[in-house]
């Protein structure tokens, strides 16, 4: 295999790995702090994606004016649809806003996802901390279905495209920088953005947990919830905030993923199962493990879908994630970086 082909697959794996890592990060935060198996986490990713769609539609709401000077083919005055944003801010700014609707949706998604996260934790999840895992699975699965159906009722069942800003459409030729022929190692701009964005979010979450008192308490709570509770620290309130943050991370991952994969209401479930595998392969209770496993599995998946690899081992592209998951779990009982005693019984 040529070096450029190798590098291309690494790059291709990065964006999927980023999405896995971001979802798994939130999942493992909730696992680790609240001890809750959250099957609705994929739905949060999906809602994030639909935040992007919502913002795109809001910005495109138009006023209809009649242009008497022109007529359509029936001879009536021509109807011109002008988005309000163009009316208010002028044509160039307005068009820019619409063009940038996906990144702008982040600003919309953060408060929405935080609110949804808080509401979910306070209204529902809170009551299930002491219930068996089976009850948690049923209630969060039920919630996921309900959220999916609500989105389906409003947005329909089809995939809805939400393009990246036009400035990021097209590809970046990595190859020429490092001496390959032009065109051998190209990578879409938006995927670079997605990867950098994911790295930024991951770094922010880690920094938050590492360098703030709040984060310190949460990490202590992940290690030993009861003791922290005994110290008289109100761990519950912090966990609510943690849930909101996990929801926001999943939501932002969803927003930014829309240009890569137009969302429909099932996108969350599709990601959820693999994210569970990612969390467990990374090791329960380990944030670093979740991120590491997300990227490893994303990149391996990308390699396995290469033509040469499929020809050598038929079907490998379908099973590689699961095969690697099995091998890692058999070699390392608690995943890559897991701690003893977390979710083992």
């Amino acid at each position: 295999m040529e070096l450029s082909a190798f590098l291309l697959q690494v790059l291709n794996g990065l964006d999927k790995g980023s999405a896995y890592a971001l979802i798994a990060l939130g999942l493992t935060l909730i696992f680790g702090t609240l001890g809750v198996v959250n099957f609705a986490h994929g739905a949060l990713f999906m809602i994030g994606a639909f935040c992007a769609i919502t913002v795109q539609r809001l910005l495109s709401i138009s006023v209809v004016t009649l242009d008497e000077t022109k007529t359509d083919f029936l001879g009536n005055p021509l109807k011109i649809r002008t988005p309000y944003v163009e009316q208010w801010f002028g044509e160039s700014i307005g068009q820019g806003l619409i063009d940038w609707s996906v990144p702008l949706a982040i600003l919309f998604a953060i408060p929405v996802m935080l609110l949804i996260g808080f509401a979910m934790e306070r209204g529902l999840i809170k009551h299930f901390y002491k219930r068996p895992h089976s009850d948690q699975i049923l209630v969060t699965f039920g919630l996921a279905i309900v959220l999916q159906e609500i989105i389906k009722a409003y947005f329909g069942a089809n995939q809805i495209p939400a393009p990246a800003p036009s400035a990021f459409i097209g590809s970046f030729d990595f190859g020429v920088f490092i001496g390959f022929d032009p065109g051998t190692l190209i990578y879409p701009y938006w995927r670079i953005v997605y990867f950098l964005f994911a790295m930024f979010i991951i770094a922010a979450v880690f920094a938050f947990l590492q360098f703030t008192t709040f984060g310190m308490v949460v990490r202590a709570g992940m290690a030993d919830r009861e003791t922290v509770g005994l110290l008289g620290i109100d761990i519950d309130k912090r966990f609510t905030i943690m849930f909101g943050i996990a929801a926001a991370v999943a939501g932002m991952a969803g927003v930014m993923y829309t240009p890569i994969n137009p969302p429909n209401y099932t996108i969350g479930m599709d990601f959820l199962v693999i994210s569970f595998v990612v969390v467990v392969v990374g090791g329960m209770g380990s944030l670093g493990g979740a991120v590491l496993a997300g990227f490893i599995l994303g990149i391996l998946e990308s390699f396995a879908s290469m033509r040469e690899v499929i020809e050598a081992i038929p079907g490998i592209n379908q099973v590689v994630i699961y095969l690697v998951a099995i091998l890692i779990l058999l070699a390392r009982p608690r995943g890559l970086l897991g701690r003893k005693g977390v979710m083992e019984s």
Binding site: H133, D135, L138, V139, G142, L143, V146, L323
Partner: protein
């Protein structure tokens, strides 16, 4: 009686009466009435109730007793289905060998997967089973196409060898039968406006259900069953009392895998067709939900959970606006439209919404599932009857 305590025997009798009379009980509304839509007493759906009931009973022997949550049991159902279709193709169109081989093949397959997966516990075990099942699903849909028929699935064909039957007979693909009695054969009995359908396939499934339900009761009440409960309670402690938990969990895993294979065999006996989607994680997740909804660790719960989910899937999904308007046509138009508008999102294509809401309501108000929750309610109402 039959080695059961009085209460257990009564429970078995109760289930016997229910499944025997199901074609009557599930058709409470006269044919052609407004609510005939809610009748579930047609063979196809009743077979599904019973087959998924068997699947869930078996799953509950593993999950309910040992607490090991497998997310890959659909793989055994799928493997059983494929094995069953091959028996119908190669050996005979009689369903008995197909059902037996389905169970055996699923048993061997689960022994292999269980042996590896049970090296881990908790969520690590769940993910291992999920991974094995997803691999089986992907391979069945792609590489194993010569054995599984790929994405289109495997079915009986006119030119199948059927060694015992003597090969191709007429112009039609023979239908699965029990010594010549076709599974699809039904007797219809009309009583007044009611029509009851007594179907051969259904009664074969119901007979099998009774047997495996009886076996499940025996397992629950055996020393073996007690050890499984002890594993769920405190598996570490069990090893300090001189018991090795591994062979017990493996035995439970294989038993539940065989139940799944049996369910798969019955499926192909009813409809000689098997596809890879039967192995997908959604199918594994469904049986998990059935068990939890009905009541984990209870005997009747899983059957109840299976019935309810299948009822929603088949009945609620078929209610459309036309039917709704018909039902509420006695009301003034304005009110009729409002009511239809309110119900509309929950039925037809929106049946998933009702299902999701029901999951949440059940688990919020009835901890321990339907059976567990109802038991709890009764206990609170009649405090003195503590047992």
């Amino acid at each position: 009686m039959l080695g059961l305590s009085r209460n257990d025997f009564l429970m078995l009798l109760f289930v016997l009466v229910l499944v025997a009379a199901a074609p009557i009980i599930l058709n409470p509304f006269p044919e052609g009435s407004n609510f005939a839509q809610f009748n579930a007493g047609y063979p196809d759906l009743m077979q599904r109730f019973v087959i998924f009931g068997i699947f869930a009973i078996g799953f509950n022997i593993l999950f309910g007793l040992t607490g090991y949550l497998s997310f890959g049991h659909a793989a055994f159902l799928g493997a059983g289905s494929y094995a069953g279709v091959w028996m119908l193709k190669l050996l005979t169109i009689n369903v008995i060998p197909a059902i037996i081989i389905s169970t055996v093949v699923a048993g061997i397959f689960s022994l292999f997967i269980g042996f590896i997966s049970l090296r881990r516990s908790g969520i690590y075990f769940s993910i291992l089973t999920l991974a094995f099942a997803q691999m089986s699903f992907a391979l069945a849909a792609s590489v194993l196409t010569p054995i599984t028929g790929g994405e289109t699935g495997l079915q009986t064909a006119l030119n199948d060898p059927r060694v015992l039957d003597g090969g191709a007979t007429g112009g039609n693909i023979p239908a699965p039968s029990l010594f010549g009695l076709e599974m699809g054969h039904s007797w219809k009995v009309a009583v007044g406006d009611w029509i009851w359908t007594f179907n051969v396939g259904y009664y074969l499934c119901a007979f099998v259900l009774l047997i495996v339900f009886y076996i499940a009761i025996r397992i629950f009440r055996s020393p073996f069953g007690m050890m499984l409960k002890a594993i769920k309670s405190n598996s570490q402690r069990l090893s300090y009392t001189g018991i090795s938990p591994r062979p017990y969990t493996l035995a439970a895993f294989v038993i539940s895998g065989m139940y799944a294979g049996l369910a798969g065999g019955l499926m192909v006996a009813m409809d000689p067709l098997a596809g890879p989607e039967r192995m997908q994680w959604t199918a594994s997740g469904e049986v998990v939900l059935m068990s939890i909804l009905g009541g984990v660790g209870t005997l009747v719960g899983p059957v109840l959970g299976a019935g309810i989910i299948k009822y929603f899937e088949n009945i609620f999904s078929k209610i459309n606006d036309g039917l709704l308007h018909q039902w509420f046509s006695f009301m003034p138009d304005g009110i009729e439209n409002v009511i239809v508008g309110i119900i509309h999102p929950f039925v037809g294509k929106g049946w998933h919404l009702s299902l999701g809401l029901m999951f949440m309501l059940v688990v919020i108000f009835l901890p321990g599932g339907l059976v567990g929750g109802i038991n709890g309610l009764f206990r609170r109402l009649f405090r003195r009857r503590s047992q």
